[in-house]
Amino acid sequence: MSEDPFLRIEHVTKRFADVVAVDDADLTIRRGEFFSLLGPSGCGKTTLLRIIAGFEFPDSGEIYCDGVRLTDEPANVRPSNMVFQSYAIFPHLNVFDNIAYGLRREHLTPSDLKVRVTEALAMIKLEGLGARWADELSGGQRQRVALARALVRRPKMLLLDEPLGALDRRLRETMQLELRALQKSLGITFVFVTHDQEEALSMSDRIAVMSGGRILQVATPRTLYEAPSCREVADFIGEMNFFSGWISARDGASAQIDLGALGSFNVVAPQSAGTRVLVALRPEKIMLSDAGVKGSVSAAAFLGERSHYFVKVESLAEPIAVAVQNSALTPGHAVGDIVHLAWSADALVILPAD
């Protein structure tokens, strides 16, 4: 995957009546990247995708693809193809004709057409099912047909609108791996919309987290997880504990952060001394040891490979969530047990206070 910019979305805003669906979105997607738009329902990710596809037009802002201005172009001339959430398989055509639908304008000879469609069917592993009708296919099969129909046109970019939402968990996980592998082998740019953060984290090269129409942070999955830029992103991705603290002293690049009853830690943070900050800490970065912050277990759940605990610490209103890898060596804890929590300073994520 190269670093070169492929799709540029510049200050795009879109309003529906009084609702701002997309608010000044600014984004660059790289060639050959698997890029996800992630966020809760109503955050504007689907609207942004539809603007890229050409089904909605922005009220302000521009879209460029490979240097060409796409902003006002209708959907049918854009270099992208879309896989719809409902799959949109034409019910009056069989699988073969569905896949061949977009090839009509290329005026291929019948034999060339057959070759292309058969190729596409093989790519999605539905060989031999060309004569089937849409209502004879399962949900997963229909999804593949939608994929093949889009990819057979060899677009520069594939747009996917929550394509795995309707599938059951097993199938969804299989399809996630397949889609990722497909994208890598084809080398084309995928723009993937989802509300499932695990899905986005597992499949994407980079993710844009959206909320209320705004893009909150664009980063690799690891960066989003380890270094979220604000509370919303931290909260949305994985589970997170939040504490409030303040910078008690500075020494060059490093700062001393005071977390009250939880202690003081030496971290790298830009805020000046005296500033209040929000500190975020992942549950799995907390260790149960012999020394550290004392608390008592208020809830415990055994989840097979992990155990989740809620630990009530005096002077803190909310219990702290702790996730511990289960092994033969670590004993389980029951409600009421006294435990000690410890973590390393660099596990702390410093965020601006709300």
Binding site: S60, D66, E73
Partner: protein, 322 residues
């Protein structure tokens, strides 16, 4: 191969702009901006699609009705049309006792027809909605067929049935039950009511059926669970929830029936004349179009008022039940 290099884009006629170009740079002409507005505005596209139908409707419905209203304020002077605006025709329509009586009779007949038709249709609709399983489609088709067959023929067959030498009379006589044909069957308001109730029956069933069908069955189950028997369930849940369909059926029947022409003409005789017959006479034989127009407008107004009052009263009554 779809390739969107600058060269490819130019070949396909797309605008190729440099990075520095911006929207509204002034190069866009009015035509291009109009085209962009059109593409972006869903409402504009929808209205364009709707426009042919709207134009036809305006020409064939709005304009004629406006003209009708206009005529009702004019007068007929022998062979000439006097276009001075006056309320003379309305004075005649409401002033002459015979016209008033006719209007009143039309409203009464229409109300009777509506009541009878709706009352008879409700159990039928209830049956299909609640008691029929897989054969719903068959029942609905059977009930729909008469809806589409010629109204003229249906009225005509009642004329045959109710006539002096008609089906009922000759049948009863040949069975020996009567010795003289019954004269009260035909050429009176009763014949009109019976015929119209029969003709409008299918119109009543469908709206009532649709609103009954929409009722969430789990509401009834919940009521049963809370102790209501079948009769109470019907009056407390089914009936109120189906009332929109009943009101729709009533309006669909009442409004056109008041202006019905064929039935009173064929089976009404001189006692069963309705307002539409008099209107037709003005246009066909008498040639007093302004009066005909005024009578038409007056009857529509009367019907409108009655309908509005009744619907509002029914809605208030429903709210009282709840």
């Amino acid at each position: 191969m779809l390739s969107l290099s600058k060269h490819g884009a130019q070949a396909r006629g797309l605008k190729v702009t440099g990075e520095m170009d911006s929207v509204g740079s002034g190069r866009d002409g009015f035509g291009e901006r109009l085209e962009r507005f059109y593409r972006r505005s869903e409402g504009a596209r929808g209205l364009t699609l709707l426009s042919p139908t709207m134009v036809v409707m305006l020409a064939a419905l709005a304009a004629p009705l406006a003209l009708l209203a206009l005529y009702s304020f004019w007068s007929q002077n022998g062979y000439a049309l006097d276009t001075h605006l006056s309320l003379g025709q309305y004075a005649q329509s409401f002033g002459r006792a015979s016209y008033r009586a006719l209007l009143y009779r039309s409203l009464v007949i229409s109300s009777l027809v509506t009541l009878i038709t709706v009352a008879l249709a409700y159990p039928m609709a209830y049956f299909v909605a609640f008691r029929v399983g897989r054969a719903k489609f068959v029942w609905l088709i059977l009930l729909t067929i008469p809806f589409w067959t010629s109204y003229l023929l249906r009225v005509f067959s009642w004329k045959l049935i109710l006539g002096y030498n008609g089906v009922i009379n000759s049948g009863l006589m040949s069975l020996g039950l009567i010795h003289q044909p019954l004269e009260f069957l035909l050429y009176n308001p009763t014949a009109v009511v019976v015929t119209l109730a029969h003709a409008w029956a299918p119109f009543a069933i469908l709206p009532i059926y649709v609103s009954l069908e929409k009722i969430d069955r789990s509401l009834l189950d919940a009521a049963a669970d809370l102790g209501d028997g079948p009769v109470r369930r019907f009056f407390r849940i089914t009936l109120p929830l189906s009332l929109p369909g009943v009101i729709a059926a009533a309006v669909v029947i009442f409004v056109p029936t008041t202006g019905d022409y064929v039935t009173p003409a064929l089976v009404g005789g001189s006692d069963g004349v309705m307002i539409a017959n008099i209107i037709e006479v003005q246009f066909d034989k008498v040639g007093n179009w302004p009066l005909g127009a005024a009578l038409a407008m007056a009857s529509m107004a009367a019907v409108g008022v009655v309908t509005l009052v009744t619907v509002l009263a029914l809605r208030a009554a429903v709210r009282r039940i709840r």
